[in-house]
Symmetry: C2
Subunit: 381 residues, 2 copies
């Protein structure tokens, strides 16, 4: 699967694999794809450094990238990155936490209590905090990222702030930004983004309402000649062929890696839920981050969707509000509440396999689809 | 675009065009596709007969079909089709109308009044009644349909009742049924349906929540070896190539024909709205029929979606409740309220063109997509 973009980025197959797990990202690159490490869960830059160091040694010289989460609107380049550089961002976090209404905190407590989620042990720190989208944290991550020969900087929330774009381009690193509509995509293009990831309705994580079949060609047309990666609903080689037929220069896959052997979900119960889920078992909900994000439908998302529940708070408040709760749900594997961002392709994920096996299926399925299309078109090859 | 199914049905291209307009259906067949006439708007069998008569003379011997709307659950084959055969179904309609709450009628009146929709003239009959999904009406339509050499009977609401299936098969007419999930599709297969139309989230009209990119391959796998047509999000040849890459044996297009020259929308204002709408200007709403159906987002759908509005009634009550209102909105072209079922591809519909021109674009775009995919796959053809 060779496109203009894949040639430019020096990758064998135009398959970009987004994952929060370094072992998965490295395996994707080794398989001939482009591994992209999601940085949002790293609140300490040193941990990100450790993992990039590891990836650099385990990608066999192949290309890889990093995905940060930077809302352009939150950019405050003039503020000192002080404690964020120490790895916590706690000061800013405390100021933001003060904006969370007590009624929302009570709702979280009550929901956890209803499902018997154990209280944190005294002095127990949250194992999982979504602080990566706090501007200062994201900036401290970038200080680390540019110490490594990354070949792509992606931003899940659209165009990064202008100074970040400049910095990436100074390092000759192309920047990709996710878009859920042609309008978003044009805005990213105007901001100077190099690659647009068209994130369809069926995708896991933050997503809009336009499905990939319509969104991909619309974004391709809107930002021409910028290259577009199709994201959302892609987990087989046939789906890759479909996305490329729609004009994408490559595909961006996230969900399918969650059930690979290399994924470090640290929860057998969650892996079992993912393997059992059908395509109809996800929901677009604001319960996790404050913005609509597709995820497994669980008792947790149902609780937030109930008629008498409080409205989820705007990003980043909702993420801070639920961080401890999500961490405890995961730690104690409280099954009814246990979830994760994942797309509608979860229905295709029915067995745990090594990344290489998944990748081999992608390339084989792609070739099968091309054979089939040539037959339909009356071109015997 | 030749598949096993297109060969079996004797059609040049595996492109099925669904439309309520005989002139459009006939033009699709003449262009080398398979025109399917939607019968839901015919309450009088004689009108359907007149239009099928016309189609028979204007399809040049090419294959065409009819789409009825029969909820399997409403099947009452033992009831006499009495007044329905006379063309109205008014008796049953009256009994059903009695189930509509007065509060809902008042909401409709108030909404129409707010937008200045004129009252009906004394004695003016509704020009548009969705009575086609009343079982008796659908059955009286079938009496007409089987007098013509139709090559396909489709049912927009799933598998038709068993006796209808038998009747179609006695006439050697294959039956297609729309499905929004693999579970629906398997149910249709078990009922004896011959072709499944996988109707993705992005489609116009009644639709589920699984997008085409995921739904199509899932349904293909679920009902193998039954042939599957992909519906939802398809308006270009590139999208046809994508759908066929996903394993479909053909595509089912509805929205794109609405802005063809041959379409008899009888409303310049509605045509203008369709040509101006973007992919984000549709909504899945129960306001029109009682089941979620994608349509243009209008002040009418917004009114029903407002927090203090009554919940839409179940099918067929909602359709009967709003039939007169929709008819008056269309007749008087009350622009803010004016809408129609249409899919997210409405964003691609930017000029009024003859069916033949649309069809030529489909075949050209398909060939372009195949060329491109062969280049990506490293197969120079």
């Amino acid at each position: 699967m060779e496109t203009e973009l894949s040639r430019r980025l020096g990758v064998e197959h135009a398959v970009f694999g987004f994952t929060p797990f370094p072992a998965v990202a490295a395996a994707i690159t080794r398989a001939g794809g482009f591994g992209v490490l999601g940085a949002v869960r790293y609140s300490a830059p040193d941990e990100l450094r450790r993992d990039l160091e590891w990836m650099q040694r385990h990608t066999g010289g192949g290309p890889y990238g990093v995905d940060v989460v930077m809302p352009a609107a939150m950019a405050r380049p003039e503020e000192p990155a002080g404690d964020a550089a120490d790895g916590a961002g706690t000061d800013l976090e405390a100021r933001i936490e003060a904006l969370i209404p007590e009624g929302h905190r009570e709702f979280v407590r009550a929901t956890l209590a209803r499902y018997g989620v154990p209280d944190p042990a005294p002095g127990e720190a949250s194992g999982w905090r979504i602080t990566g989208w706090l501007d200062q944290v994201a900036r401290s991550q970038l200080d680390v990222v540019f110490d490594y020969p990354v070949r792509l900087l992606a931003n899940a929330l659209g165009a990064p702030p202008a100074d970040v774009l400049r910095r990436a381009h100074d390092h000759r690193v192309p920047v990709a930004a996710l878009a859920g509509s042609a309008r978003h995509a044009r805005r990213h293009q105007a901001a100077g983004v190099d690659i647009v990831v068209a994130q369809g309705y069926e995708a896991g994580g933050h997503t809009g309402e336009i499905a990939s079949m319509v969104l991909t060609p619309e974004v391709v047309r809107a930002v021409d000649p910028l290259p577009v990666l199709a994201a959302g609903g892609i987990g087989t080689g046939e789906q890759i062929a479909a996305a490329l037929a729609l004009g994408a220069q490559g595909v961006w896959l996230g969900s399918v890696w969650l059930t690979t052997r290399e994924a470090e979900l640290h929860s057998r119960a969650l892996t079992r839920k993912l393997l059992a889920a059908g395509s109809g078992d996800t929901v677009r909900s604001r319960a996790l981050t404050g913005k609509p994000a597709r995820q497994l439908r669980t008792a947790w998302t149902d609780a937030w969707d109930a008629a008498d529940s409080p409205d989820p708070l705007p990003m980043p408040l909702q993420g801070l509000l639920v961080a401890d709760a999500v961490s405890r749900i995961q730690r104690y594997e409280v099954e009814p509440l246990l979830g994760t961002p994942v797309g509608q392709v979860v229905g295709l994920m029915t067995e745990e396999r090594p990344v290489q096996a998944v990748f081999d299926d992608l390339t084989r399925g792609f070739e099968r689809a091309i054979d089939r299309l040539n037959r339909v078109a009356g071109r015997v090859t």
